[in-house]
């Protein structure tokens, strides 16, 4: 059976963070139930297309999925379980805001079948959290992780951000130090970036207060060193996990596993075609689940995706795997690029794999752009 990942998008939040460019709405409480019903209908309607697939991961993202009632999330997951073939060891994740959960909530999620939870902690420094518009504080984040562990989640991730406005290297180091002592199995570290259209992108004071590239890299390398020292394996540019606890859902994106996204604006990759759902909330609730075509991936583009997505993984890409997928040797297709980047130290050969070097991870776009 073909492996499949399912993504569920919950486009609601308590407040919108100043740096966030994801599709989400604050409030709109009246829309929560109709939206959950719409997703359930969407999931059920598509099931017939995936009878030959086995669902290996399910991921609820947002927005903040946990602004919905635990029961609503459970009903959505139940629809998947009822209509699709789920692998026995499927990883089923929901993102959560530390402020939106309690013991009871987590217990309902566990019973519904969720076995992995991902908290958007960002930082354990309350001043910095307030400055970027987060509603929780460090204490709540710590408590949320302990609650999740007690509720029986096998896998717990926290997201940390660095290069936040006014953040010093030692501020970030403190957050990492707190994180590694928690019962978490996975940590993602992202550099804050000012995306177009976000309030941050036009806030000159905050932009000025953002650490420069030198400080940014110092924080990143610090995280890499500390997390490794505490037994977290660096397996993707921004992701670290304990052995066997790497995020299988996200690994799917980097290895071009097929995925179907349900919910507002959710993207899918099926049979080398990328498409998404409508981004109009009312339309979606009314039942417009038609796929909006994004791109047909040509053979050439698929090879480029294989490389640029695969190279995000620390282990890199397997040249034998490339040949199996595309019937050509990677040297014939990208020989020029490979030679150039191996020569200038951004790529390394670790037969049969090709991977980014440590320096290459800092300049990965320069590498990827050449393969497009």
């Amino acid at each position: 059976m073909m492996p499949l990942s399912i993504y569920i998008h919950i486009p609601f939040c308590v407040t919108k963070c100043g740096y966030c460019d994801f599709l989400s709405f604050c409030g709109r409480l009246e829309a929560h139930e109709p939206y959950a019903e719409a997703i359930i209908a969407d999931i059920a309607a598509c099931a017939k297309d995936f009878t030959g697939h086995e669902v290996v991961t399910v991921f609820f993202g947002g927005g903040t999925p946990t602004v919905l009632a635990a029961g609503q999330l459970g009903r959505i997951l139940g629809t998947i379980m009822d209509n699709y073939t789920l692998a026995d060891d499927a990883s089923i994740t929901t993102e959560a805001n530390p402020d939106t959960i309690d013991d009871a909530y987590l217990t309902v999620l566990r019973h519904a079948g969720f076995n992995r939870i991902s908290f958007g902690v960002q930082s354990f420094n309350d001043d910095l959290l307030a400055k970027i518009g987060r509603i929780h504080n460090a204490e709540k984040a710590v408590r949320a992780v302990h609650l999740a562990a007690r509720a029986g989640f096998d896998d717990i991730n926290i997201d940390l951000m660095f290069a936040l406005p006014h953040q010093s290297i030692s501020d970030f180091e403190q957050s990492v130090d707190v994180a590694v002592k928690l019962p978490v199995t996975h940590i993602s570290c992202y550099a804050l970036s000012a995306e177009d259209g976000t309030p941050l992108a036009t806030n000159k004071d905050l932009l000025r207060a953002m650490p420069d590239d030198t400080a940014d890299r110092a924080m990143y390398h610090l995280a890499a060193q500390k997390l490794s020292a505490h037994g977290f394996e660096h397996y993707e540019i921004s992701n670290w996990g304990r052995p066997g606890r790497h995020c299988n859902h996200n690994i799917g994106y980097w290895t071009r596993r097929e995925y179907i996204g349900f919910g507002l604006g959710a993207h899918s990759l099926v049979q080398d075609r990328r498409f998404c759902r409508t981004t109009n909330l009312e339309d979606y609730i009314k039942g417009n689940f038609f796929p909006i075509h994004l791109e047909d991936i040509t053979h050439q583009a698929a090879m480029a995706e294989f490389v640029i997505l695969g190279l995000r993984l620390v282990r890199g890409i397997d040249v034998n795997n490339f040949r199996q997928c595309f019937g050509q040797n990677i040297e014939h297709v990208f020989g020029h690029q490979l030679e150039k980047f191996v020569k200038n130290g951004l790529l390394a050969i670790d037969s049969p794999n090709i991977k980014l070097t440590k320096h290459g991870r800092d300049l990965s776009n320069a590498v990827f752009a050449d393969f497009i």
Binding site: H9, R217, S238, G261, L309, R361, D362, L363, I372
Partner: protein, 599 residues
Amino acid sequence: MQNIRNFSIIAHIDHGKSTLADRLIQNSGLLTEREMQDQVLDNMDLERERGITIKAQAVRLIYRAKDGQEYVLNLIDTPGHVDFNYEVSRSLAACEGAILVVDAAQGVEAQTLANVYLAIDEGLEIVPVINKIDLPAADPPRVIKQIEDIIGIVASDAPLISAKTGVGIEDVFEKIIKDVPPPSGDANGTLRALIFDSLFDSYKGVIVFVRVFDGVLKKGEKIRFVGSAKDYEVVEVGMFAPGNFIPTDQLTTGEVGYFTASIKNVADTLPGDTVTTTHNPTDRPFPGYKKATPMVFSSIFPADRSRYTDLRDALDKLVLNDASLFFEPVTSVALGFGFNCGFLGLLHLEIIQERLEREYNLDLVCTAPSVVYKIYTTDGQNKEISNPADFPDPTLIVKMEEPIVKAEIILPSGYIGAIMEICQGRRGVFVSMDYIEADRARLIYEMPLNEIIYDFFDALKSRSQGYASFDYELTGYKESALVKLDTYINREVVDALSFIVHKDSAIERGRKIVEKLKKEVPRHQFEIPIQAGVGSKIVARETVSALRKDVLSRCYGGDVTRKKKLLEKQKEGKKRMRQIGSVELPQSAFLSVLKLDED
């Protein structure tokens, strides 16, 4: 012949030459209001936009005067800029008179004077006209006095007009008829006609603009161009109606018109040359024509290398219409295949670059303008070079000479200090200063041409808040100590960024170049030194620090399409860059060094 008047209009930019010409055409009743396109004579878009005339144009008007007689008025519009000085003088030579249009508020400007003197040299009758009397700041008595004081012609009876509103246009007509003498010449003599311009038409070949001084120019006649010694047979003869050509059978003595003769190359029909008949050539040709000598050179490259042939085709077409444009193929390590082009002056250069970009839709990279240096080497040779790449080994140079101009700057007296500083800073030698009026001065400097071709004009405008006007003429060559200033990026010399400069300017120029380039060179994964040097000596250095970070932190299922587009954009940007060793340089880097005085 008694009822023909041939005249041109001399005016400073903005003083209303084209508006007056339009008004004359309109009042003569040749065109209805609807047919009048604003400024009939300036045909090219560029001419309309800049308010300047690049090519000479002519139009034939019929005017019924107050004396009851009908007159033929041939208006020959001349290029208004000193770059086209020679063309101006040829156009003027085709006339008996010139209307001098002076703005009633601004008064006489430097550029006007140059052309007035040209007209006086050609023996033309000057008819002053005071325009824009409708402006609140108009002060006709002051301007009239100024004309009389500076130019030394009677202006007390000058028509006071507003070309814009139409006031006083009748007076201009009457004044032309009264003051401009009718043409004289031997109507029965052998053909002698003066070429004052030409135009390339893809159907008819070159259309030659002429003034007949003696004899008759007939259709079917075998004619000869005296200067180029080429013979042709006249296919079509005609006169100029506003906006089009009207064929006739012949042009008689005193008349202005055109002819075609299946001529393929404008170079055969240069302004100033004499047209006569093959069977009975005149023994009194006009003083002969001067071949235009390019003064300013710049190499032009297509931004997109694949458009080299398009650029060549465009230049081939432009040169059909502009015999003064010179070009030859050139190769640059940094910029690929292009053309080294010669221009009459800076305005000419700008015009050609703009026409290539607009009319031929080309994206260009141009090297810094250069001038022609004379270099005498130990082997007894005398080289003329304009391309820094041709600069010889300094140890072989005996003597070097560079072109010198007389720069005339007219400016409000408040800016004299600032402007003198600019001139001095560019090796200018003060010649004289006088006051045209109480608060307007004229500064004359002798300056090396290579100091004004960069950004002198921009500097002048910015330091005088736009009030200084400037003109120059070549006066000759002077011995000079020149050096070749090279630019190194990541220790590789960039040929398109080499300059010939005076040795005293080298350090300053080098410093500015590396400062500008520092802002244009993108960060790479390694540190990039940017250096300027003379010979083996580095005179300035800046460093572009290494790129520390170029990462997309997140790339999940919903990000792939968007992030791929970002990467594609990044790659697209790279594709337009020029590779210098291991450094990728954007086009803007080459352009940035052209405006060194800007911040």
